[in-house]
């Protein structure tokens, strides 16, 4: 678990708007360890989806990766040309998109959509080999081989999501970015999709970044959890330690907002709204909503620092200085 699959260093992704640049990802750094599932959780606008898109190189105008590095297999992805990045996608790093409801081509068959990625990457297969490959991929995600002949509109939401997963693993990438793979699904299907994801990960030995906003889901699935707020990482730590003793007030409030099943307690939310990225508060972006805010929080933005072995936090409370 100590080897690193992906490294992100000081990534800045900005969107140009009429009123100035929006820093959707603002100086984010973390490592993705080999074989782990890293969760990335946050509210809408926290930057988590932008982060996922940046990793697969899909940031399009008016967005731009302004600075920073994404290191995969010793290469900095941010320096790649458009064609070179195309080669890296699917083969080394794959995306399971948010909302696979509309992520599949409506007019072509599933089989074609599973095969065209590898084909454009130079893999040549005979018809029999192709059929086998498609059937085995569908089997891996728990779908019948008949799905190959179908069109997207014939599939349910959960099935579409699993097809997307099958496509993502078709070239056995080492890194998979799963962007809210269960958001539009009901709980039962969610469970099945996540189980499929875990099975797939075990078999491939891939490292997964699971992006989402559902703390409960994260708690059950991930090995380590990163919490994003207003474009920055607030905290990152192994899941157990995060749940037991969160270091950042935001993380703690996220955990406390989960409804308790065993002992009854009143539902708690987090007061206030997520900040507008064009109009960030001074100092720590969370300070207006933080119950433990003190003077330093209003004036000084906290650095993302190592608080313990394997734990990083951006909060003045954690500074023992």
């Amino acid at each position: 678990m100590n080897e690193v699959a992906l490294q992100v260093r000081n990534l800045q992704v900005h969107y140009a708007t009429a009123r100035g640049p929006v820093k959707a990802v603002n100086d984010v750094s973390f490592d993705l360890h080999k074989g782990e599932i890293l969760g990335l959780v946050g509210e809408s606008g926290s930057g988590k989806t932008t982060m996922g898109m940046a990793l697969v190189g899909l940031i399009r105008s008016p967005g731009k990766v302004v600075s920073g590095e994404i290191l995969l297999n010793g290469r900095d992805l941010t320096s790649l040309s458009v064609d070179a990045y195309k080669k890296v996608r699917l083969e080394e790093i794959a995306l399971i998109p948010q909302g696979a409801m509309n992520s599949l081509n409506p007019v072509t068959r599933i089989r074609e959509q599973i095969l065209d990625g590898p084909r454009d990457h130079g893999i040549v297969l005979t018809k029999a080999e192709a059929d086998d490959h498609v059937a085995s991929l569908l089997h891996k995600v728990g779908l019948s081989p008949d799905v190959a002949k179908m069109h997207a509109h014939e599939l349910s939401g959960g099935m579409k999501q699993r097809v997307a997963m099958a496509i993502a693993i078709s070239m056995k990438p080492k890194v998979i970015i799963a962007d809210e793979p269960t958001s539009a699904l009901d709980v039962v299907v969610q469970k099945r999709v996540i189980e499929t994801l875990q099975d797939v990960q075990q078999e491939l030995g891939a490292s997964i970044i699971l992006i989402g906003h559902d703390m409960g889901l994260m708690a059950q699935t991930v090995d380590r959890l990163g919490v994003m707020y207003a474009g920055r990482l607030a905290e990152i730590a192994p899941i157990r330690e995060t749940l037991i003793a969160p270091r950042h007030p935001y993380t703690r409030m996220l955990i406390e907002s989960l409804p308790a099943v065993i002992e009854k307690k009143p539902l708690r939310g987090i007061a206030g709204l997520a900040p507008q990225l064009l109009n960030l508060p001074t100092g720590c972006a969370f300070h207006p909503r933080c119950p433990q805010c003190f003077d330093r929080c209003i004036t000084e933005t906290p650095d993302f620092r190592m608080a313990d072995e394997g734990r990083w936090v951006a909060c003045h409370l954690s500074d023992h200085q």
């Binding site: 697969v56 899909l58 990045y85 195309k86 080669k87 890296v88 996608r89 699917l90 083969e91 794959a94 995306l95 998109p97 909302g99 696979a100 409801m101 509309n102 992520s103 599949l104 081509n105 409506p106 007019v107 072509t108 074609e112 065209d116 990625g117 454009d120 990457h121 069109h151 509109h153 014939e154 997307a164 496509i167």
Partner: protein, 333 residues
């Protein structure tokens, strides 16, 4: 494809045929009188060699559409005639039958129109798709404006300009007609080439005038398509530019383009008819022009009926083809 769907479409086509016939019957009588009878009576009073035939026509007309018959009976007579493809005789070109005159002219129009249309649709759609694709060569963009400008003006006016320029000023191409005047049509290669030679300008007028329209529509569709989620995921798969353009963007964007085609079929025929007139091309258009000149009502009615029915048929074909292109459709309705 569900049989239900097919039946409804065929039903619509039959409705169109009925409307075509009814339009021909009722609209001329809008002024309160029957202009056809007026015309026939006038003609029969002129005398001459055609006298015997004209008398016969007038008598038959009076029997079917005389003032003494109630309107609805006249209507059913007319519908019956149409159903038997009896469009009567040409008043000015007696004893030619209208149906024969139309059938003679039809192949010319059909040939011209289908060639010009197929070319303009395919080239226009492809160009439009490229115009809407951000990673297409930049110099193509310069074509867009001029093409649109050309497509704004009526086809036949463009034809006029081209005719003057290429046939009279530059003298590169023939000045009209379907083939060299004075020659007889033969089934030879030489004749075929002559026909093609004469078809260039009319076809070009139709082609250039339509090109911009298709391009504009396709470009808009491509722009919309590129915003779709499946384009993002396709890109995430690392697909080649070519696959993204052809199999994902164009394949989807072309669907509304085909739907849009159904809407402009009427315009296509109307435009083509007028173009033929400019070039005196021996198709349905020139037939119509002469008929209007000579107030030859039966010919006009015949041409109008045929064009409406042809459009109806084309619409029907399109409707039947569309579900083959879009797998989502055959499972609804």
């Amino acid at each position: 494809m569900r049989l239900n769907y097919v039946f409804r479409r065929v039903g619509f086509f039959l409705l169109i045929v009925w409307v075509a016939a009814s339009v021909n019957f009722f609209l001329p009588r809008l002024s309160g009188q029957d202009p056809i009878r007026e015309k026939l009576l006038r003609e029969s009073m002129l005398g001459g060699a055609m006298q015997a035939g004209m008398d016969q026509i007038v008598k038959t007309y009076e029997v079917k559409f005389g003032l003494d018959r109630p309107l609805y009976q006249q209507y059913f007579s007319y519908l019956g005639d149409v159903a038997r493809f009896d469009f009567n005789y040409s008043i000015s070109q007696y004893p030619n039958r209208v149906i024969d005159m139309i059938l003679d002219a039809l192949p010319w129009t059909a040939g011209l129109l289908s060639v010009a249309f197929l070319l303009s649709f395919s080239v226009g759609t492809l160009l439009g798709a490229l115009f809407g694709w951000p990673r297409a060569p930049r110099y193509l963009g310069w074509l867009f404006g001029p093409l649109l400008s050309l497509s704004a003006i009526p086809y036949f006016l463009l034809g006029l300009v081209l005719l003057y320029f290429f046939a009279f000023y530059l003298k590169w191409l023939p000045s009209g007609g379907g083939f060299e005047r004075g020659t007889l049509p033969t089934a030879s290669v030489k004749f075929a080439l002559d026909v093609a030679h004469h078809a260039i300008l009319p076809a070009l007028s139709i082609l250039l005038a339509q090109l911009g329209g298709w391009a504009l529509g396709m470009r808009a569709m491509m722009v919309t398509t590129q915003g779709e989620d499946y384009m993002v995921f396709a890109d995430a798969k690392g697909l080649s530019e070519r696959t993204l353009f052809l199999r994902y963007a164009m394949r989807n964007a072309i669907l509304p383009q085909v739907t849009g085609l159904a809407l402009v079929l009427g315009q296509l025929i109307s435009g083509a008819v007028l173009v033929e007139i400019v070039f005196q091309y021996p198709g349905v258009g020139t037939l119509l022009w002469r008929a209007i000149r000579e107030t030859d009502y039966f010919v006009v009615q015949g041409v109008v009926f045929f064009s409406i029915v042809t459009i109806g048929l084309a619409t029907l074909l399109l409707d039947l083809i569309y579900p083959l292109l879009d797998p989502r459709i055959s499972y609804e309705k």
